[in-house]
C-alpha cells in the first residue's frame, strides 16, 4: 500500500541578483519598484520529482548540498508548498526534529513539554499520557519542574528531542539533526527509530551519513540538481553517489578508476564476534571482541593494509586500528581471505558504534585505496566502570615512604 506519493513536484524560489536588493527585501518602496522592473530570477530547487513510498518502507534521500534534499523534507512536512505537482500523504506524518529552540526559558520543563508537544500536533491528553515516558527518555529527571533556563544545554536538547521521539507517526521524517546529545543519548534515539521501524512505521531519511542510510534504508533516492539522478536499492545508489562525489573532487579521480573499474579486492563482510566466538552486536566495556574482515581478492595485492574503524552512529570516527602500525607485512593472494582483528578488552564508553573496514595498499595516496565497507552497529553496554569517554586497563598503587602497597584493579 502506498503511503506517500510525490507526483511531478516542482518547487521554485525567487532569488535576487543584486544582494543590496535582497537586503532591502522588506521595504515596501523597493518591493513596489521591483514589481515593475522585475529583477528577480527564478531558481528551481526541484523539478518534476516523482516517487512513492510504500507502507513500512524506509526510503533514504541522499545528494550533495543544495541538491534539493531539504526542500523535499520541507515540502513533505508542509512547511512550504510545491509550485507545481501534488504530494499525497496517507496517515499521520511527523518529523523527528529537535524543537528546543521553541522552548520558553521562564517556563518549567513540564510546561514546555506541553507547549512544544502541542506545536508538534499532539493533543493535551496524549501529552499527559506520555509525559512520564518523555521525561524518562530525556533523562532530565527531577528538573522537569524547574524553569528550563536553569537547564544545561545538553538537558535542553535532550528534552526537546524526547518530545519529538514520542509522536507515534505513520510516517517519520528523519534529518541530519539526529546528532543530539551525548553518545548514550544518540544510541537511545537509534533504538527508538529501530523500534518504530519494527512497528511498521514508514521512514523517510535525509542524510549525508551514508553508513546510517545504508543500515536503515531499503531504497534510496539520489538527488542531483533538483532531480532524481538515481533510485533503487540503497547500496547501488550509494555506490553511484560515491562515484559522483569522487568525480566532484579532482583528487578522487584516480580512486574512482581504481574502485569502480578494476578493484583488486573487495570486502565481502565485516563480522563482529564475542569472546566465545558468537556473532553478536552486544558488548560491555571490558569484554573481549574480535572482528573478521572477509575479503574476496581478485588480483594479488602486495603489501596490503587492512583497517577497522569505530565510528559513532553519525559517522564520526572514534578510533581506528590498522595492520600498517599493528601487524606484519600482508601480501594477499587471489581468493577468499579473512583478516581478523581482536582485542582482549573493549575500552569504549557506553554507546553504539558502527564498525567499518577498509583495505588499501601501503601509502597514503587516495589511489592506494581499494575498498571500504560498513559493518554492523554494535552496542557497548555497562561493564567495567567508565564515566568519561573511554576505559583503559589500569592499576592503582599507594606510595607512602618505603612501604609500597599494591592494589590490583579487579
Amino acid at each position: 500500500m502506498v503511503n506517500l506519493t510525490f507526483d511531478r513536484v516542482s518547487k521554485k524560489y525567487k532569488i535576487y541578483a543584486d544582494p543590496s536588493e535582497e537586503q532591502s527585501r522588506s521595504s515596501l518602496l523597493n518591493k513596489i519598484r521591483r514589481r515593475f522592473r522585475n529583477h528577480s530570477q527564478e531558481f528551481w530547487a526541484l523539478r518534476d520529482v516523482s516517487f512513492t513510498v510504500e507502507r513500512g518502507e524506509a526510503l533514504g534521500i541522499i545528494g550533495l548540498n543544495g541538491a534539493g534534499k531539504s526542500t523535499i523534507l520541507k515540502l513533505l512536512y508542509n512547511i512550504t508548498t510545491p509550485s507545481k505537482g501534488e504530494i499525497r500523504i496517507c496517515g499521520k506524518l511527523s518529523a523527528l526534529i529537535e524543537v528546543s529552540s521553541g522552548f520558553h526559558p521562564e517556563l518549567t520543563g513540564r510546561e514546555n513539554v506541553y507547549l512544544n508537544g502541542s506545536l508538534l500536533g499532539m493533543t493535551r491528553r496524549e501529552i499527559r499520557n506520555k509525559l512520564d515516558s518523555i521525561v524518562d527518555f530525556s533523562g532530565v529527571g527531577g528538573f522537569i519542574d524547574s524553569p528550563v533556563k536553569r537547564y544545561s544545554s545538553g538537558m535542553y536538547l535532550r528534552l526537546g528531542f524526547s518530545i519529538a521521539a514520542h509522536l507515534d507517526p505513520d510516517i517519520l521524517l528523519l534529518d541530519e539533526v539526529l546528532a543530539v546529545g551525548d553518545a548514550a543519548f544518540q544510541a537511545k534515539c537509534i533504538q527508538r527509530i529501530a523500534q518504530l521501524r519494527k512497528e511498521g512505521t514508514t521512514i523517510v531519511f535525509v542524510s549525508h551519513n551514508l553508513g546510517a542510510v545504508e543500515s536503515l534504508c531499503d531504497r534510496t533516492l539520489l538527488i542531483k540538481e533538483g532531480q532524481i539522478y538515481k533510485s533503487g536499492a540503497t547500496h547501488e545508489v550509494i555506490a553511484t553517489y560515491e562515484d559522483l562525489l569522487l568525480r566532484v573532487s579532482p583528487k578522487g579521480r584516480a580512486a574512482a578508476t581504481e574502485s569502480s573499474t578494476a578493484a583488486a579486492a573487495e570486502i565481502v563482510a565485516v563480522k563482529v564476534f564475542d569472546s566465545e566466538g558468537r556473532n553478536t552486536t552486544m558488548f560491555a566495556t571490558g569484554d573481549a571482541m574480535s572482528m573478521q574482515v572477509e575479503l574476496n581478492v581478485h588480483r594479488r595485492i602486495e603489501d596490503a593494509v587492512v583497517e577497522v574503524y569505530f565510528n559513532s552512529v553519525f559517522g564520526n570516527l572514534h578510533t581506528h586500528f590498522s595492520t600498517e602500525t599493528g601487524g606484519q607485512r600482508l601480501d594477499l593472494e587471489p581468493g577468499s581471505t579473512i583478516v581478523e582483528f581482536s582485542c582482549a578488552e573493549i575500552t569504549l564508553e557506553v554507546a553504539a558504534f558502527e564498525v567499518e573496514a577498509a583495505i588499501r595498499r601501503r601509502g597514503l595516496s587516495i589511489s592506494d585505496f581499494v575498498d571500504r565497507k560498513h559493518g554492523a552497529v554494535i552496542n557497548v553496554g555497562r561493564g567495567k566502570p567508565v564515566h568519561g569517554v573511554f576505559y583503559t586497563p589500569h592499576q592503582w598503587r599507594v606510595l607512602t615512604g618505603d612501604a609500597t602497597k599494591h592494589m590490583q584493579h579487579e
Partner: protein, 277 residues
C-alpha cells in the same frame, strides 16, 4: 480505521482547500489553548504586579483622559461622569488595540516555529487576541466597581455585552490575520501599526461622544466597526439601554465579512510564508 489522506499542492483558492484548512484548525485546537494560556502566563511572569497590569493599563489611561479631557478640555460626555464614560470605551478599545499590536508581529517573531514545524499559522495571531480577551475580562471588574461607585444601575441589557464582544473579537481577529500575514512580506507594517492605532483611537468615539460627530459625516464614520461596537458597549452598560440595532448589525456584517476575507488572504500567503519570512 482508514488513515487520513492529506494532499499538498500549489497554493490555490478553492472551497475544498478552505474547508480542509478549517478542519486542520479544529484538530489543532489544543495548540490554540496551550499557546493562549502560555501567552497569559508569560506576559506577567517575573513581574511584581503580575495580573494587576491588566487593570492598571486601562485605569491609568482613564485617569489621564479624565484629567485632560474633562477637567482641562471640558469635552462633553452626554451627562455621565467622564471617568466611567471614557472607561466604558477604553475597555473594548484596549482589547482591540492590544490584540492588533501584539498579533501583528506574531509570525515574524516566531520565525523559528514557522520555518521548522507545521501547524495552522493563524493560531499564532489568534493566541494574542485570546490573551487580550483575558485581560479584558480582568479589567471589566473595574467597570463593575465604577458603576457601583457612581450608582449606575446594571440592567438586563448588559447581557448584550456578550454579542458585542463577539463582534469585537471577530474584528480584532480579522485585523490581526491581515496585518500579521502582511508583516511577513512588508516589515513596514510593524512600524505603521502603532501610528494607525493612534489615529484610529481618534476616529472612534472613545474620548468624545458619538453625538458630537457632525451628522453629515456619520455615514462614513459608521463604517468603522469600532464605532458600532464601542457606542453600543456604552449604551448597554453606562446607559443600561437597548443597543442600537442598526449600528450593531452594520458592525457585525463588516466584521464578519472582513474576517472571512482576511482568513482567505492569510491562508493564501501561509503556503509560502516559510520561504520569505
Amino acid at each position: 480505521m482508514t488513515p487520513r489522506v492529506s494532499i499538498i499542492t500549489a497554493p490555490s483558492l478553492s472551497t475544498t482547500k478552505l474547508i480542509h484548512d478549517l478542519g486542520k484548525l479544529v484538530r489543532y485546537r489544543d495548540l490554540l489553548y496551550t499557546l493562549s494560556v502560555h501567552r497569559i502566563k508569560v506576559r506577567y511572569k517575573q513581574s511584581v504586579l503580575g495580573g494587576l497590569w491588566a487593570i492598571l493599563q486601562p485605569v491609568s489611561l482613564m485617569l489621564m483622559f479624565t484629567f485632560i479631557f474633562s477637567f482641562v478640555a471640558k469635552i462633553p460626555s452626554d451627562g455621565a461622569p467622564y471617568a466611567i464614560f471614557v472607561y466604558t470605551a477604553l475597555l473594548p478599545w484596549n482589547y482591540f488595540s492590544s490584540s492588533v499590536s501584539n498579533a501583528t508581529g506574531s509570525l515574524v517573531n516566531h520565525a523559528q516555529f514557522v520555518t521548522k514545524v507545521y501547524f495552522p499559522r493563524e493560531i499564532l495571531p489568534a493566541t494574542y487576541v485570546i490573551a487580550s480577551l483575558f485581560d479584558f475580562v480582568v479589567a471589566s471588574v473595574v467597570l463593575v466597581g465604577l458603576m457601583m461607585y457612581y450608582g449606575v444601575p446594571l440592567t438586563i441589557h448588559a447581557l448584550y455585552v456578550v454579542p458585542i464582544v463577539l463582534i469585537l473579537t471577530c474584528f480584532a481577529l480579522a485585523m490581526s490575520l491581515f496585518l500579521s500575514a502582511t508583516q511577513v512580506r512588508f516589515r513596514d507594517i510593524g512600524v505603521a501599526v502603532p501610528l494607525l492605532l493612534q489615529l484610529w483611537l481618534f476616529a472612534t468615539p472613545v474620548i468624545y461622544p458619538l453625538s458630537s460627530v457632525p451628522e453629515r459625516f456619520r455615514s462614513i464614520y459608521m463604517l468603522n466597526p469600532m464605532v458600532g461596537v464601542i457606542e453600543n458597549f456604552r449604551q448597554v452598560t453606562l446607559r443600561g439601554a437597548e443597543p442600537d440595532y442598526s449600528t450593531l448589525t452594520l458592525a457585525a456584517v463588516v466584521s464578519v465579512v472582513l474576517l472571512c476575507l482576511s482568513y482567505v488572504y492569510f491562508k493564501h500567503l501561509e503556503s509560502t510564508m516559510a520561504d520569505i519570512i
